[in-house]
Amino acid sequence: MLFLAPNFLGVLAFTVFPVLFSIMLAFTNWDLRLHNMFKDEPLKFVGLDNFTRLFTEADFTRYLGNTLFMMMGIPFSVGGSLLAAMLLSSDTRGGGGRTWAWLLASGGLVVSVALLAATGLATTGMTILFVGVACGILAMGMLGGVTVYRTLFYTPHFTAGVATFLLWKKLYNPESGPINAALQPVLDTLAGFVNKQPPTAVSGLRWVFLTGVAALLLWAVSKLCRMWNEGELSGRAMVLPMVLLTLPTVVAMYWTQTRGMPGYVLAGVMGSVGVWVLLRVFVGSRAFLPPTGGEGLGTGLMIALCAMTVQFILLGFSAVFANLPAMAADGLEAPKWIASYDWAKPSLMLMGLWGAIGSNNMLLYLAALTNVPGELYEAADIDGARRFQRFWHVTWPQLAPTTFFILVMSTIGGLQGGFEMAKTMTNGGPAGATTTLSYFIFIEGFETGRLSFAAAVSWALFILVFSITMFNWRFGNKYVND
């Protein structure tokens, strides 16, 4: 049809044809180092060589690991988006204090601007500046309500791109960036304080956090076991959350930052959890069934994901406290952020969080929150539900389809992401710490010139994306219906 023709031809020429081309490419040995104007070796069909090379050369698995590591920021950003959406969907215009708040805010704004003009440009200027910005936001929020905050939240995401990456590169600069300029005095004070305390008291604090990890693990496991026993969770739906739950402990054993932690403690925790699971499952009321179906997988996964996130945070704190006395002895130094091997990935994740809180996800959550029927909240109120119960029993289940969609999309996006950050901020470094698969494809395809290998990498990436999509598609409906 004539109507279809222009778009269809375009899609055919620049999407379908390249895809087919790319499949062919992945099975040949097209390499610009072999086929160029000086040297023209015959183009050969090499079968699966490129794909086996993915696993024999260390690079691919390493960069896949980088990509997956950076994807651990996703739960945080989704949580942040949800929080932002819930804040925005509360009624900000109501309340008796509106006029007063408005007056106060605009007063603060005027005063701080006036003072700024008067005192000029010293450190006090900074304080006034910050107060002024905060008051300005408040005043605009009072005037415009939700729309203003929504715009402010959304701006980082909307402008995210090379421009804001360059901005963050400067923010992270260890010598001249404002982050370290603000952080260093804080760290100096902290170091002074820690040095005055007995070292065992500080490092002993890690046990508090480790106990927290163990308690959380036990809580989540027993929750899962109870669901299993009550038949809400199928065997198969039990396995994946369990794996996720134990992941932090396993990671902690190998993580450089936690080396100081005695391995036997972690092993002990793991062992006791294992015994606990066996007890719960076998002594429980429900006979052991062969794993079937995926009922309850969604809920199980959510519990596991939340618990996993908190576990990681607690582990991080315990690691910090374990090493604090030793580190503070010669003064704490602010991290070198993107210039340091250990901090580069977390830095990029932090920046991603900045851009992701007010992203499309927030808008999706906002829309979903509007669609939650008001009667459900009324019913919950009549039942005397508290704030958290209202959230857990009404809002969260109603948001399940949205959360599911967001997680799927973020996972797919996360697997393909990281190119722009790597290119503009770190060049994939230091020492390949921030090279994700997409940047790897760029390097191989456009810098090294190993076209076929790059095509193979991109197809491996596609297989990952595809299998995740399929997995989600199969379990998605069950999750949404939970």
């Binding site: 081309f21 804040l87 980082p156 909307f158 400067k170 456009f446």
Partner: protein, 297 residues
């Protein structure tokens, strides 16, 4: 479509059952807490932009020392002019907008045609072709990059605007989005037009297109913004400096040739601010489009 935007995103406030006094006191406090949290969060998110703007008016010596505010060097607004003096920034601007406009036009026009064919016309194999379209949406763009570059080489489009415009202009996504919009238009409308003797083209042009306007605008914003931001493709395609787009041009101040953070920040601000304005003006469409695309997708 109403022009004012009511507070439609708020949860309907629940009826409160306690005594009136307690209610107003409690509401007063909860409003305060809410505003405090909102301000704190906005503040944290906006802070980098504050630093950006302040650094852009500093002298180079003052970048990275102590205060965020410009010191003895004064407020150097001429940094913004200096950007244009050092690099052909205006040229990059024009390039970016020129390319993005063309891509947007082609995208919206051809996508709406194709969406019309998918949603309104009956032809053999329609559903199969549509499945093909949908399946291309799942492919990572990276898969296409290398072959597309080879195609560009053989067409001689490397380092030319056509090479940036044409491959980006035809996507399955646009067709899909507009089809969703068009399916929500009642069929009775175009049937009535056909009874009056309108040709298919007239139905498309006079009935469907005006009704799909919000969809067209949404797609236009998406495409324009996506293209304005695009980095990978211009980076590999553009060789000569006067054809650079903004994202590529910005790298100049961060290269070994220049480490002028203040100028970089001025350039960043100038490249970001138009988008912020566009967003503030058109956010109604954007929000709707994102939500529609997700609900149906």
């Amino acid at each position: 479509m109403s022009t004012t935007e009511p507070n439609h995103l708020a949860i309907p406030t629940r009826p409160v059952r306690t005594a009136k006094n307690t209610v107003s006191v409690r509401r007063f406090f909860s409003t305060w807490v809410l505003h405090t949290v909102l301000v704190a969060l906005s503040f944290a998110l906006v802070l980098p932009f504050v630093w950006l703007l302040l650094t852009s008016v500093k002298t180079l010596e003052e970048v990275g020392v102590g205060s965020w505010l410009p010191g003895k060097g004064g407020w150097r607004w001429d940094n913004y002019i200096e950007v244009f003096r050092q690099i052909p920034f205006a040229r990059y601007y024009v390039n970016s907008i020129f390319i993005a406009c063309w891509v947007t036009f082609l995208q919206v026009f051809t996508s709406s045609l194709a969406a019309f064919a998918f949603s309104r016309l009956d032809w053999p194999g329609r559903d199969k072709v549509f499945v093909l379209y949908l399946s291309t949406m799942m492919l990572p763009g990276l898969v296409m990059m290398i072959p597309n570059y080879q195609i560009m080489i053989s067409l001689g489009w490397v380092d030319r605007f056509t090479g940036l415009i044409v491959p980006a202009a035809f996507t399955a996504f646009g067709t899909f989005l507009l089809r969703q919009f068009m399916l929500s238009i009642p069929k009775a409308l175009d049937e009535a037009a056909e009874i009056d003797g309108a040709s298919k083209w007239r139905v498309y042009w006079d009935v469907i297109l005006p009704m799909t306007r919000p969809g067209l605008i949404t797609l236009a914003i998406f495409t324009f913004m996506g293209n304005y931001h695009s980095f990978f493709w211009p980076l590999v395609m553009l060789k000569s400096e006067f054809r650079y787009t903004l994202p590529i041009g910005l790298l100049y101040f961060d290269s070994t040739a220049g480490q002028e953070t203040n100028l970089l920040m001025a350039a960043v601000a100038m490249s970001v601010i138009p988008m912020v304005i566009v967003f503030i003006l058109l956010q109604k469409y954007l929000v709707k489009g994102i939500q529609l695309g997700a609900v149906k997708g």
